[in-house]
């Protein structure tokens, strides 16, 4: 039966902090958005041109959600055409290390893409355990 230390599950708190944080960053463009905001505060249309492929609907939805979660604040500037500035809150700024870590890995990834050592000739092509594999 090959038991091998059955329940050696190290940490894993009951309410997963990872899941909690990923709820903030979930959804399309969210991480990009926080990244853009990590510098100076930006306005709606600036963000739209920063991330050209995001739609107004999704941008609006993300901004609402992020504000609701306390990640950013919206500040209305009463100018001739009233504009709105979005800025990270203190809590939002705590996400910056996460974003930067992701960007770091992303950049390493882009280097790997050039040299992709897939399917070394000497190794087995891909041993399946004993799965069904009908016909």
């Amino acid at each position: 039966m090959l038991r091998r230390r059955k329940n050696k599950t190290p940490p894993l708190p009951p309410l997963c902090p990872l899941t909690e944080c990923m709820k903030l960053l979930g959804g399309a463009w969210t991480a990009n958005l926080v990244w853009r905001l990590s510098g100076e505060p930006r306005r709606f249309s600036e963000l739209r041109s920063d991330i050209p492929r995001i739609s107004a609907k999704v941008l609006s939805a993300r901004l609402c959600a992020l504000e609701k979660n306390g990640v950013l604040t919206r500040h209305v500037v009463a100018s001739s055409p009233p504009s709105v500035e979005y800025a990270l809150t203190e809590m939002g700024r705590e996400l910056i290390p996460v974003i930067e870590a992701i960007v770091q890995v992303g950049m390493k990834l882009q280097h790997r893409v050039e040299v992709r050592p897939r399917s070394v000739p000497g190794s087995a092509p891909r041993p399946r355990a004993r799965a069904t594999h009908r016909t």
Copy 2:
């Protein structure tokens, strides 16, 4: 018109590294999975019991995708009931700082949940710019 320095977009490389990395971590349970694997290698059924709410289908899909992306390796152990061990590759291990940063923020988040200073009485209740706001 209030021009304010039009295109001061700082970095944002053409092929976004953030998006590239998020493609690896996208999808339900993926980050959790990498987290579990960040310690010792684990088997399919171990992962299933580690993350009780993940379904076999999604677990299988994630493992396939992560293997395809070079994040982990599968190793078939030819034992009596053949078992499969999943382990992070070197590239997969580079994701660990990301996961840990996420977990760090997640834990801070859980502390904040207890004391949630939403809607400070002194500030405006929520000024909308001039949006439609029909009736």
